[in-house]
């Protein structure tokens, strides 16, 4: 749901909130007199049956004016448990796991109903759920799979844009891992349980968790949320291209696309992995332990030669940038102003990034064009740094001459004073 509530909804939200809060104010005035006897008992009951007023107050449904009765039925105005929880009064009894999606869907899949509370919210969650692996298994009688409340929580269910919500972007991975990292729980399903551990090492997790970039992908970004399922082998590049547009465009036109498709290999994942997607380095193109090309290619063939050319070009630009950086740092340490060249270095770095993106075309000439542009800038910056050092030497010569002049005056004055005081 976090993913569904895009920015445009978020901006419309306050206005909507104002409108609904007026409606709800009217509603709550009548509610206020109505008694909620459920919490009187259940707030004192132990864990499984216990719900406190404090917990429930965080629940988005409570905030919109819904009560226990809205989901559980019964008569909250009666203090007598037998009357309050009587089938006659509409009490639904303990809700079974397998009934939960249907129960939530009774409101959330009803556009007419949802429009009264949040017209922007989608109403296809249940339909999507039925297409998910979770939903299909539930239908087949497996009640171990996730239902709505497993991810969203229950009784203190917060809106997905609340940072404390279990489905807030930064909490999603943890929420999924409750089941998917539990080897014992997942034992019967024959799928790995190390996804979460791997994901936390990935560049995506770094961006999301460490840098706090909420747009960085988490589990649901690639797998879907209500319709969660592994993306098929064929759709991997499509999924990645949602963000990595250029890489995908180049890959689509490349020879690897043809080869991977015919071998039924999952595109991007072949070189970058799926969950443990590390920040790529040039070493991937090398022959060391991180190298990927040579896992399939034969040393010395045409492709290996291209690989080597691409790698050497990238390395060349990288070291040219480093050399210029060093030269500029040296000039700066001597107090020279080289901010212009420093600015140029950003351009050179941009070119290196572009060249690295161009690797996905697997064409030497595509990479080369960017590398050459970068080299030109980096070399210009290097020259600027060297020029600054030459200039520094000029300054020192000037200083030397001036000090020499002063060195003439001082003894001159000394002698002169001596002379007049004689």
């Amino acid at each position: 749901m976090a993913m569904l509530q895009s920015k445009s909804h978020a901006s419309a939200f306050p206005r909507f909130l104002l409108a609904t809060s007026l409606l709800l104010l009217a509603a709550s005035l009548s509610h206020a007199q109505t008694k909620n006897s459920c919490l009187d008992c259940h707030s004192a009951l132990p864990a499984q049956l216990g719900v406190t007023q404090e917990q429930f107050s965080h629940d988005v449904h409570e905030q919109k004016g819904l009560t226990c009765v809205s989901c559980h039925g019964g008569d909250a105005s009666s203090d007598d448990p037998a009357q309050a929880m009587s089938r006659k009064a509409g009490w639904k009894g303990p809700i079974e796991r397998r009934q939960i999606p249907q129960l939530c869907g009774s409101c959330h899949s009803n556009p007419d109903f949802m429009r009264r509370y949040n017209p922007g919210l989608r109403t296809d969650q249940l339909a999507q759920y039925h297409t998910s692996v979770h939903g299909k298994r539930l239908a087949a009688g497996d009640s171990k799979v996730a239902v709505c409340t497993d991810c969203h929580g229950v009784h203190d269910l917060r809106a997905p844009n609340d940072p404390q919500s279990t489905v807030y972007a930064t909490n999603v991975a943890k929420t999924c891992s409750h089941c998917h990292s539990d080897a014992h729980y997942m034992a019967g399903y024959k799928i790995p349980t190390d996804q979460y551990a791997k994901y936390t090492t990935s560049v995506h997790s770094q961006e999301l968790m460490v840098r706090g970039d909420l747009s960085a992908p988490t589990c649901t970004t690639c797998h879907g949320n209500h319709g969660a399922a592994p993306p098929g082998v064929a759709s991997v590049p499509q999924v990645c291209s949602t963000c990595h547009v250029f890489q995908a465009q180049m890959y689509e036109k490349s020879s690897h696309k043809v080869a991977f498709d015919s071998a039924k290999l999952p595109g991007c994942v072949v070189c970058h992995e799926n969950h443990a997607i590390a920040h790529p380095t040039d070493a991937k193109l090398g022959t060391g332990p991180e190298a990927v090309c040579m896992q399939c290619h034969t040393p010395g063939d045409q492709c290996d030669q291209a690989r080597e050319q691409i790698l050497s070009q990238l390395t060349q630009l990288n070291s040219a940038i480093k050399a210029a950086d060093q030269q500029l740092a040296l000039a700066e340490a001597s107090g020279m102003e080289v901010s212009e060249a420093r600015l140029g270095q950003n351009e050179a770095r941009d070119a290196l990034t572009k060249a690295r993106v161009a690797v996905h075309s697997f064409q030497v000439k595509e990479v080369s064009a960017n590398v050459q542009a970068g080299l030109k800038t980096a070399n210009k910056d290097l020259a600027a740094g060297q020029q600054a050092m030459v200039e520094r030497n000029h300054r020192r010569i000037g200083l030397g001459l001036s000090l020499l002049a002063i060195a003439i005056v001082l003894p001159g004055l000394w002698l002169y004073i001596g002379k007049i005081e004689k």
């Binding site: 107090g335 102003e337 002169y416 007049i420």
Partner: protein
């Protein structure tokens, strides 16, 4: 030589300067083992002159204003020929001047040169020191870089802590509630018009006092001379002392040139009003002792805000410091030692706090 003499005669007939410089010719400087300290005031004056000259030169290219100040200083540093030299000298000389002014003050204190009849010379001197620090504070902001921006923010904030008058002072300094381009315009005005005017006026008074009263002789030397009048020695101010002072100025010039050429003053990064403050913001070194002392004061003292107590204490201490000569009595009593004790304490305090502030994170 004759041409020069003719011109000199011609001018002297019209200006009658012989009369003007007569007191200078008569003036003598006591000559003793502590005479070296007499140079410090002169060196400070020399550095001030350098400041005026380089400051005027910088005005040719500098432009105040949040959108232009940084760029114009960058332009001076990179594009204008010898711009780097002029600006570096201005910055280095500013720092050296504040240092020599401090040294001058403490030398006067320890040599007891502030005694009657020189109380007013001391008072004008202390005011001059405050004004010079004002020069430093206002000038620091002018390049409009990040460090200066935040240092100004913190500095004016401290001024704003003073009860009652603090807030109006802060608004007056900032030209608003916040440090913005308006502050820069204001500081520029202070730096190139208000402060130079005040300093010039006070400097003239200060120097007139020195001329009228002559140089003070330290008590220990005075005592020796009283016991043995034959040991009394004097040096003619002009040209004998002046030439020696000139040598000192030349050395100062060399040092300035070397510092500027070997360690050009850097420019930093342009101030961004919306950026968060970088860690470890510190003021210029000459404010460091106050800054650090304020940091060490507990946040609450009795019922008052610790920082406010600190600021008021500094203000009071500054005032008493300025009036110090009036506490000196003619009787050779404990009071003399008392003042020396205070002076030593002040010097140790300033040095310790500055070093601590420099080292502390």
């Amino acid at each position: 030589m004759t041409v020069l003499q003719n011109v000199g005669n011609w001018l002297s007939e019209r200006l009658e300067w012989e009369e003007l410089i007569a007191p200078l010719k008569k003036k003598t400087v006591p000559r003793h083992r502590l005479s070296y300290w007499y140079f410090l005031g002169g060196i400070t004056l020399f550095l001030f002159i350098i400041q005026v000259l380089t400051g005027i030169l910088l005005l040719l290219y500098y432009r105040p204003g949040a959108s232009e100040a940084f760029e114009s200083v960058q332009y001076i540093m990179t594009q204008v020929q010898f711009g780097w030299l002029i600006r570096s000298i201005h910055s280095w000389s500013a720092n050296l001047m504040i240092f020599t002014a401090f040294a001058h003050m403490f030398s006067v204190l320890f040599l007891k040169a502030y005694r009657k009849p020189r109380e007013l010379t001391w008072v004008t001197g202390v005011v001059l020191l405050v004004l010079v620090m004002g020069f430093g504070f206002s000038g620091y902001l002018l390049p409009w870089n990040t460090l200066a921006f935040f240092a100004t923010k913190v500095g004016t904030d401290i001024a704003g802590q003073v009860p009652l008058i603090g807030h109006p002072i802060m608004v007056f300094l900032r030209g608003g509630e916040e440090v913005t381009g308006a502050t820069l315009t204001r500081f520029f005005g202070f730096h190139v018009a208000v402060l130079p005017g005040l300093v010039f006026l006070l400097l003239v008074i200060h120097l007139l006092f020195v001329q009228r009263q002559g140089m003070s002789v330290p008590p220990s030397v005075e005592k020796e001379w009283k016991e043995n009048p034959a040991a009394r020695r004097e040096l003619k101010f002009f040209p004998n002392f002046a030439l020696r002072e000139l040598m000192a100025w030349y050395v100062g010039l060399g040092v300035l040139g070397a510092l500027a050429a070997l360690f050009p003053w850097n420019l930093g990064v342009k101030a961004d009003l919306f950026a968060s403050a970088p860690a470890g913001i510190k003021p210029e070194w000459y404010f460091l002792f106050m800054f650090q002392a304020l940091k060490l004061i507990p946040s609450k003292i009795w019922f008052m805000d610790g920082e406010v107590v600190g600021i008021l204490t500094f203000a009071l201490a500054g005032l008493l410091w300025m009036l110090l000569p009036f506490f000196e009595s003619d009787r050779k009593a404990r009071s003399q030692q008392w003042i020396t004790g205070i002076s030593v304490f002040a010097l140790v305090f300033v040095i310790t706090m500055s070093v601590y502030g420099y080292v502390a994170k």
